[in-house]
């Protein structure tokens, strides 16, 4: 599956049919029933609920369903019978977000056995997948495949494939379990612990994620990884932690040398998606979870020999890699496979950024986040100026933890880089 990078923040979505197909044998009631079942198909697999609203009411629906032909005031005109059948807009704040359009020149049918016409239920399930934030999939049994695959059977019995479910649940989590849910399959047995590693028993305490102060943080395939010592947590796009208990570093990143105890920085490289883990003056390249080749020197990326790194991230606007150390940063051109000239530069160019950040990531919505201690600084998409309300506590938004109360145990966030300018400073001995 593929995620579009946007999702609805709320869990109850409203919908309404703006117009019905002109030349179809389907009655308006049938069309409404099919839309209801198509939305329910996604609802039963996630925490989402859908509510039809009337045209008179004040509510502007999230998902407006329209049967239109040829050019219909968006950039995606239809093309008569055949060819393109329908489209939908991804979630977002725009008024057209979530809207779903069907080509009114198709012959919309339902459950036809003779292969004639186009099955409205099947296409509606597909388009609502887009309206919820899924892209096209190449999985053989996915409803999100780009080409029309014909009817998919009884709408009241139809269930999404595993690929579609996984994509959806990455965004919105699983459906809340009801008392009547009986597990259909035994939970997977935990992988056998290799003898060399100490068992995961309470006698080996795991760090507390609510303390913050992570060694590295990275956005890998839409999930945010928080590294601390030989452990890490995973946060899904839906905001759910994969588990409150951290996973063991060396069991997941296969091939990472056992003497590597701390990951100082991590990121997912653009455009090949390789994952790079940094420790000391070296880094390791992973394809998925397998190590690819030996350790490489950071000098390869333009840093002075022996230099280490605090944070590494890839900036989508130019696809370049940024490597931060202390108050300076370097830049590496992955496309040209060489460091950019004219670096290092001063980190204050990222106005408001803390020096020596724990790590930096770019979120699925394109904002850049600097993390340090138990706080984060947010730079809106494409901007190098921190939000005025930065820093904010990481706990509530990222880790399902309470906000830290400022105190001796929880030092106030470090001062951000001060804007250059004249300074009127009286320093007295007792202050």
């Amino acid at each position: 599956y593929a995620l579009s990078g946007s999702m609805w923040k709320k869990r109850t979505l409203t919908w309404r049919i703006l117009s019905f197909p002109q030349s179809s044998a389907l009655s308006q009631d049938t069309v409404r029933t099919l839309m209801h079942h198509a939305l329910t198909t996604w609802g039963i697999e996630s925490g989402l609920k859908f509510q039809e609203v009337g045209s008179q009411g004040p509510i502007e629906p999230d998902i407006l369903i329209d049967f239109a032909r040829a050019y219909h005031q968006d950039s995606y005109p239809f093309d008569g019978q055949g060819g393109t059948l329908a489209h939908a807009f991804f979630p977002g704040e725009h008024s057209i977000s979530g809207d779903t359009h069907f080509d009114d020149e198709e012959i919309w049918t339902f459950g036809s056995k003779d292969g004639e016409g186009t099955d409205l239920f099947a296409v509606a399930v597909h388009e609502f997948g887009h309206a919820l934030g899924l892209g096209h999939s190449s999985a053989p049994d996915s409803i999100m495949r780009p080409f029309y695959q014909g009817p998919v059977g009884d709408p009241t019995k139809y269930r999404l494939s595993q690929d579609d479910r996984e994509g959806l649940q990455q965004l919105y989590g699983k459906a809340p379990r009801t008392p009547y849910d009986e597990p259909t399959r035994k939970p997977l047995a935990p992988p056998p612990a290799p003898p060399a590693l100490p068992p995961d028993s309470p006698s080996f305490p795991v760090p507390d994620r609510c303390d913050g102060n992570f060694d590295a943080i990275a956005n890998i395939r839409g999930e945010t990884f928080f590294f601390k010592g030989p452990w890490f947590w995973r946060l899904q796009p839906s905001g759910q932690l994969v588990s409150p208990r951290p996973a063991r570093l060396h069991r997941f990143w296969e091939g990472l040398p056992s003497q590597v105890k701390v990951i100082q920085a991590a990121y997912s490289r653009y455009p090949d998606g390789r994952i790079l883990l940094f420790s000391g003056p070296q880094f390791w390249v992973f394809q998925d979870r397998q190590l690819e080749g030996a350790a490489r020197p950071l000098a390869e990326l333009g840093l002075p020999p022996g230099e280490e790194v605090d944070a590494v991230f890839s900036w989508p606007l130019n696809g370049k890699t940024y490597l931060v150390r202390g108050q300076r940063y370097w830049r590496y051109d992955d496309a040209a496979a060489r460091p950019d000239p004219g670096y290092p530069r001063d980190l204050s160019l990222w106005e408001g950024a803390p020096h020596s950040p724990d790590d930096v990531t770019v979120s699925n919505t394109g904002d850049t986040y600097f993390f340090k201690g138990a706080h984060y600084w947010r730079f809106p998409k494409g901007s190098v100026k921190a939000e005025p309300d930065s820093p904010q506590p990481m706990g509530p938004e990222w880790l399902d933890c309470p906000a830290p109360s400022a105190g001796p145990g929880n030092p106030k966030p470090p001062k951000a880089t001060v804007k250059p300018g004249t300074c009127n400073c009286q320093c007295e001995i007792n202050q």
Partner: protein
């Protein structure tokens, strides 16, 4: 395999560009479509369509390009569907 007609290649490239497999031609750069990039793009398209990944604009691939489908791009990030438009 029989070489595809020039017109087929042109139609194929248009289709691959429309659905995000190839980057839209950059007006400033008179960049020739590299055969390697074109072949890779065709392979990804064939995977989405469930076809053998030959990397060639063979007849079955060309025929698939005419099949009914959703009008969203298959490879995102190239032509996302967020348009400025009054509802």
């Amino acid at each position: 395999a029989q070489e595809p007609a020039a017109q087929d290649v042109s139609l194929g490239v248009d289709w691959l560009t429309r659905y995000g497999y190839l980057p839209p031609p950059h007006p400033a750069q008179a960049q020739l479509q590299s055969p390697v990039k074109l072949r890779d793009a065709i392979k990804v398209m064939q995977r989405f369509a469930g076809l053998p990944e030959t990397g060639l604009l063979d007849p079955v691939t060309m025929a698939t390009m005419h099949k009914p489908r959703c009008s969203l791009p298959d490879v995102l990030g190239v032509a996302g569907l967020v348009r400025r438009r009054r509802r």
